[in-house]
């Protein structure tokens, strides 16, 4: 990594810290941040409760989910060697969301504990495996996107169907949450539920970083370098499913993060798929946290879904990337 790139990553980390402070200071109620911090975790003072029980878990959840989505997108693009691969676009998030919907609305509700992320991960794994098998090895971008769009459309239809027949009166209106995501009213319980699985996913992807590097030279070269068999693709698939599945289970489907962030970070890591994983995790966390700050400050209690904001933030970057590609630069 060059010196300028290193500075850029320090800048992202610094921006993430600033965004965290902004997130802790944002909300419908004006609080004294420093005294609330000093009051501590166990204080019953309303400012401290708002800070420690409401704002902090929400901001950390945004960081965690953003990191999972960014990292998942980078791994997917690396494994499929396709710049359009993204968890939400290719149905991975829909698979996780469908599993979560079936469990929550027809099963054992929010108290289901570990079952919720586990089932969501299984759903994500099944859908990413379906896309992979449907498109076939070394699929062209168009075939892969076609397979992903088909799986995504089918799973979205199943989600709508499941919510339509769910016993809850609110189920149908909540399809918006599952399609666009939200961090509203989330607490430490949801954060702690998803955290171990996202960390496990990150560890699996980290373990597969050299495979992703080798794969960037082509499948045959990767095989000649010792990355043969199904072990490595399965490792990546499991990593993506664990990170993205757990994130979707608690925050719904949030699009664009996994698509845009790896593209933005790739030049900064000199196209290295291994480094791209953690760079995308950092940038994904930053993007989602900024999106959540905008959600909180712009629309208040009647919250705009965070997926809409990430699309607002992400789309202009993507336009820029496309225009750059048309001018002859690489995408």
């Amino acid at each position: 990594m060059s010196r300028s790139n290193r500075w850029f990553f320090f800048l992202i980390v610094f921006a993430l810290l600033l965004a965290l402070i902004a997130a802790l200071a944002s909300g419908p109620v004006s609080i004294n941040l420093s005294s609330a911090l000093a009051e501590g975790w166990h204080s019953e003072n309303s400012d401290a409760v708002i800070l420690w029980q409401l704002r902090l878990p929400r901001a950390l959840l945004a960081i965690m989910v953003g990191a999972a989505l960014g990292m998942g997108g980078a791994a997917m693009q690396g494994m499929l060697r396709n710049p359009l691969a993204e968890p939400a676009l290719l149905g991975v998030s829909s698979g996780a969301a469908l599993a979560a919907i079936l469990l929550l609305y027809y099963g054992v509700a929010w108290q289901s504990g570990w079952l919720l992320p586990l089932l969501a991960i299984a759903g994500a794994f099944c859908s990413v495996a379906c896309v992979w098998m449907l498109a076939g090895r070394g699929a062209s971008a168009s075939r892969l996107v076609l397979a992903g769009v088909a799986i995504n459309a089918f799973l979205s239809a199943l989600m709508a169907l499941a919510l339509n027949y769910a016993p809850s009166m609110f189920a149908m209106q909540e399809i918006v949450f599952w399609l666009l995501g939200s961090l509203a009213n989330r607490g430490w319980d949801q954060l702690l539920l998803a955290l171990p699985f996202i960390l496990a996913g990150a560890a699996l992807l980290f373990a597969a970083r050299n495979y992703l590097r080798a794969l960037s030279l082509g499948e045959a070269t990767a095989a000649s370098l010792g990355f043969r068999g199904r072990r490595y693709p399965l490792l990546v698939l499991a990593g993506i499913a664990a990170a993205v599945g757990a994130a979707v289970a608690v925050a719904g489907t949030i699009g664009f993060v996994g698509l845009v962030v790896p593209h933005l970070m790739r030049p900064l890591v000199r196209q290295d798929p291994g480094r791209l994983l953690w760079a995308s995790a950092l940038a994904g966390a930053l993007l989602l946290l900024i999106a959540d700050i905008l959600v909180i400050n712009i629309v208040g209690a009647q919250e705009l879904r965070i997926g809409a904001v990430t699309a607002f933030l992400g789309a202009p970057f993507f336009f820029w990337l496309i225009v750059s590609a048309r001018r002859g630069q690489s995408l």
Partner: protein, 269 residues
Amino acid sequence: MKQILLLTSLLLSASATAYERIASLNLCLDQMLLSWVPAEKIASVTWLSADDHYRSAPLPENIHLNRGRAEELVPLAPDLILVGEFGAQRAARRLRDLGMKVVSIPDAYSLKQLQEQLAALENALGPLPPLQKQQRQLQELLARPVPESEASALILSANNITYGRGMLEHQLLARAGFANLAAERGVEQLGRVSLEEVIALQPDLLVLYGGESDFALAHLAFRHPVLKSYIDGHRLYTLPAELGFCPALVAADVLKQLTEKRKKLVAQQ
């Protein structure tokens, strides 16, 4: 004296049984009929009454469930059709044109309208003892002077909705001696309240709405650990779901329970 009472009760029961095949085109009227009128006298209620979310009285077997269409009711030959103020108006017009007796009962969004609704229902059905009991109960409660606000309350409903001035729920809180914090913050009718605002406002009583047992993200705020102190401190009250779609059934009970809750809270303080 006994003879007069006997005669009066005979007259009352005679007028209560004046209609033998009553049909309803309104969910709330369904529930009132099912609660207060003998089942054999009900010819049809709306399909919504078969839904567990709305059913507050047992649904007789083989009762006809209508979807608010005139052609469904004609073959049933009801001798009285009750219709609400807004829904199924076209069907009501058609049935009137066909010479059937259709009576419109006003909806209720305030305590005054609630009394008017019960009076209109009594006019249509005749003097039914359970209906009269409900009317009496409500009148007695409303005749009492409005107490000074001794405690504060805030309603947190599904999707973080709260109830302000101009709503029946606000009137019930005020009548029970609570200051509705949403109304004090200028909320007219319905408004939104975030969990942060709930914590910052520190109401003495947090009022949740509806006993929805099925999972919904709309109720996620209710489950947030930040409200634990309200649950542990018994500073929570849940308004019955019926208050939302048929307040006549439960308004008196809710007012009594809220008043009791206020007394307990004040005693604790």
